[in-house]
C-alpha cells in the first residue's frame, strides 16, 4: 500500500497545489520523485512526530493541505495530544498517514505494531478514520483525504499487500463497498484484512454458506445505511480487523447496534488485548489471534448453525 500511497499523493499534488507531504524521517527513497516533481512540498521534519503534527496544523492554518506520514504508532500515539489539540480541535484539513497498520511490521515487534490506532483516532472529535482494504483503494482514498476539509486518519498497510479489486474502484469516505454478495451472514472488514475477508467468504461458499463481504473502509463515520441493510438482509454480522477488539471496527459497530436496537447477532474477530509475546511475521501473529481463513470460517459456520 506504501507505493500506492505515493502514487495517490502524486496525483493529488498535481491536482491541488496546497497538498504537501511531511515525514518524520520515514520513507527512504520512496518520496524522491515526489520531492523532485514538487519542490518545497516534501519535507522530512526529522524524528519529531509532535513537531510534525504541530507544523502540519500550522500549514493548514496557513492554507495548505498537509499529509503527515510515519509508522502508525508514531503518527498517532507518540503525538496524540498534538493530533487532538492542534489538528482536531481546530478542525483542520490535515491527513495523518499511519503506515503499517496492525501487524504489518511483524518482526519489528510490538513497539511497531499498531493495534490501538483506530480506537484512539476515532475517539477524537472531527476526525474521520479511513482504512483502505488494498493498494487499489489507497490511491482514491488519498485523493478523497486531500479533498476532505477536516482531519483524516489514513491507515495503510506496508509493502506487498495483496490486491483485491480487479479494476478501478469508486471510493468515497463514509461509503462502504460490497465486495461479495450474500444472504446468510455479513463479514464486515476494515483495512488490510480485506483480502482475508474475501477468502473467508469463498471458503464459506464452498460449504454452502452465503457470506456477504462489506468493506467498511471508513470506520468513522460508519456507513449506517449499509449496516442497516446487512442487519436486515442477513442473519448475523461478523467483524474482521487487524486491530484490538477493544475500540476498533467491531466496537464501533457494537456501539451502533446498541444505540439502534439492532437485534442481529454480532461477533468480533480481531487481535487479543495483549502485546505479542514472541517475535513473528504478520502471518504468524495473525494466526496467534485467530485471524486466519480456517479459524474465522469455522467460527462463522459454527455460529450460524448454533443460531438456526
Amino acid at each position: 500500500m506504501r507505493a500506492a500511497f505515493v502514487r495517490g499523493l502524486t496525483a493529488a499534488a498535481r491536482q491541488d497545489p496546497r497538498v504537501m507531504l511531511l515525514s518524520s524521517d520515514l520513507g527512504f527513497k520512496i518520496f524522491d520523485e515526489f520531492a523532485h516533481e514538487f519542490p518545497g512540498r516534501f519535507l522530512n521534519v526529522g524524528v519529531a512526530e509532535s513537531n510534525m503534527i504541530g507544523v502540519a496544523a500550522g500549514l493548514a492554518l496557513g492554507g495548505m493541505r498537509p499529509f503527515a506520514y510515519s509508522i502508525a504508532p508514531f503518527a498517532t500515539l507518540r503525538c496524540l495530544e498534538h493530533v487532538r489539540n492542534d489538528v482536531c480541535y481546530h478542525k483542520l484539513a490535515v491527513t495523518i498517514v499511519g503506515l503499517g497498520g496492525g501487524y504489518s511490521y511483524g518482526h519489528n515487534g510490538p513497539t511497531h505494531h499498531s493495534l490501538e490506532d483506530i480506537a484512539v483516532m476515532r475517539a477524537l472529535p472531527n476526525m474521520s478514520v479511513v482504512c483502505p482494504g488494498d493498494p487499489v483503494e489507497v490511491e482514491p482514498a488519498v485523493g478523497a483525504a486531500a479533498a476532505h476539509a477536516s482531519p483524516v486518519y489514513l491507515r495503510i498497510g506496508r509493502a506487498g499487500d495483496p490486491v483485491v479489486h480487479t479494476g478501478p474502484v469508486h471510493f468515497e469516505i463514509g461509503r462502504a463497498i460490497t465486495l461479495r454478495d450474500g444472504c446468510d451472514c455479513t463479514l464486515i472488514s476494515t483495512g488490510n484484512t480485506l483480502p482475508l475477508a474475501v477468502e473467508i467468504s469463498d471458503r464459506l461458499r464452498a460449504i454452502s454458506i452465503s457470506c456477504r463481504v462489506l468493506n467498511m473502509h471508513t470506520v468513522k463515520p460508519l456507513d449506517e445505511d449499509a449496516l442497516h441493510a446487512c442487519a436486515g438482509e442477513t442473519r448475523a454480522l461478523f467483524t474482521l480487523e487487524e486491530h484490538s477488539r477493544i475500540g476498533g471496527l467491531g466496537s464501533a459497530i457494537a456501539e451502533w447496534a446498541a444505540m439502534n436496537r439492532v437485534s442481529c447477532p454480532l461477533h468480533l474477530f480481531g487481535a487479543e488485548d495483549a502485546f505479542a509475546e514472541s517475535t513473528g511475521s504478520q502471518a504468524y501473529l495473525r494466526a496467534l489471534c485467530g485471524l486466519t481463513v480456517d479459524h474465522v470460517a469455522d467460527t462463522i459456520a459454527a455460529r450460524l448453525v448454533a443460531s438456526c
Binding site: N51, A56, G58, L61, G63, P66, H82, Y89
Partner: protein, 278 residues
C-alpha cells in the same frame, strides 16, 4: 496589504504605558469576576502583548481574517486574560465580550479556543503547542510566497516541553526568518523556579540556530524597538528572551506563586487596581 490601524499613527492615541495599564486592569477584573487562577501569569506578559499588538503586528481589527495578517500565538494559553484584554483594547471585539470570560455559555475560556473571538489564531492551553504551529504557519507563508510574520509567546515553564525543542531544531533548518519566539522569562513554573533548568536559556536557543536578543520584558519602548528589528539576521528565526516579573505591576502579586492559583477577592482587586493606576 493593509495598513496598521489608525490609532497607531494618531498623535492623540494613548501611550503604550496607558494601553498596558488598561490591559492590566482588565486582567484583574476578569480574574476577579471569573474567580480564575493565572492572574500573575497574565500580568507577566501584558507588556509583551501590548508592544506586539500596538507597535509591531501588521493587523487590522476590521479585517481580522486577512490572509496576509501577522499572526500572534500565545503559546502560554493560561495567560490569555492578557490576550483577551489586549485584543479588546486593540478593537478586535467590544469590551462587553470580556464579561463572557469563564461564564457558562461564554466564548472566553481560561485557555483560548480556536477562533473563539477575532484575533485568536490558535487554541492553546496545553504547553508546547504554539511553536510547532507557528513554525508551520511561517512555513506556509514561505511555500505560498506570503509575507506575513509569526510571533509566538512562550512561558519559561513551557520550555520544559520537548516539543518546544523539536520546533526549535526545525525552524532554523528551514530558515524560517518569518518566525519569532518570545520567551516570557519570569523565572517561575507553576510550582518552582525555572532558572536552575533553563539557564543559560539564551545560549540554548542560540545553540539551536536562532538569532537571540535578551531584553527587559517590561520596557515597552525597548520591546517595541527590538521587536521592530526582526528578523535579527537574514534567513534565521529570531528568539527574544524577555526578562519579566510574574505578577508584574501589582506588588503583592509579584514573584509569589500563590497568585498562579488564587483569584483576587474584592479587596485584592481594589488594592491592585489602585497600584496599577498609580
Amino acid at each position: 496589504m493593509f495598513q496598521p490601524g489608525k490609532t497607531l499613527t494618531d498623535v492623540n492615541a494613548p501611550s503604550l504605558q496607558a494601553r498596558a495599564r488598561a490591559v492590566r486592569a482588565r486582567v484583574l477584573r476578569m480574574a476577579h469576576a471569573g474567580r480564575t487562577p493565572h492572574v500573575a501569569s497574565a500580568l507577566s506578559c501584558v507588556d509583551l502583548l501590548v508592544a506586539l499588538y500596538f507597535s509591531v503586528l501588521r493587523i487590522d481589527p476590521a479585517n481580522p481574517e486577512d490572509p496576509n495578517r501577522d499572526r500572534l500565538l500565545l503559546s502560554k494559553g493560561h495567560g490569555c486574560m492578557a490576550q483577551y484584554g489586549a485584543l479588546a483594547e486593540r478593537g478586535f471585539f467590544p469590551e462587553a465580550v470580556l464579561a463572557e470570560y469563564a461564564r457558562d455559555g461564554g466564548r472566553l475560556a481560561e485557555h483560548p479556543g480556536p477562533h473563539c473571538v477575532p484575533g485568536i489564531e490558535a487554541a492553546t492551553g496545553s504547553l508546547g503547542h504554539g511553536l510547532p504551529i507557528g513554525a508551520g504557519l511561517a512555513l506556509a507563508a514561505k511555500v505560498r510566497g506570503a509575507n506575513y510574520r509569526v510571533f509566538v509567546v512562550l512561558s519559561d515553564g513551557e520550555c520544559y516541553e520537548g516539543s518546544v525543542w523539536e520546533a526549535a531544531l526545525f525552524a532554523p533548518v528551514l530558515n524560517l526568518a518569518g518566525l519569532t519566539a518570545i520567551v516570557d522569562y519570569n523565572g517561575w513554573s507553576a510550582m518552582a523556579p525555572t532558572r536552575p533548568a533553563m539557564e543559560p536559556l539564551a545560549e540554548k536557543w542560540r545553540a539551536f540556530g536562532w538569532s537571540v536578543r535578551e531584553i527587559d520584558g517590561h520596557n515597552l519602548e525597548s520591546l517595541a524597538s527590538v521587536l521592530a528589528q526582526v528578523p535579527f539576521e537574514p534567513g534565521r528565526p529570531s528568539a527574544i528572551i524577555a526578562r519579566t516579573v510574574k505578577g508584574k505591576g501589582v506588588s503583592f502579586m509579584e514573584n509569589d506563586l500563590e497568585w498562579h492559583y488564587r483569584p483576587p477577592n474584592d479587596q485584592d482587586l481594589q488594592r491592585a487596581l489602585l497600584e496599577i493606576s498609580g
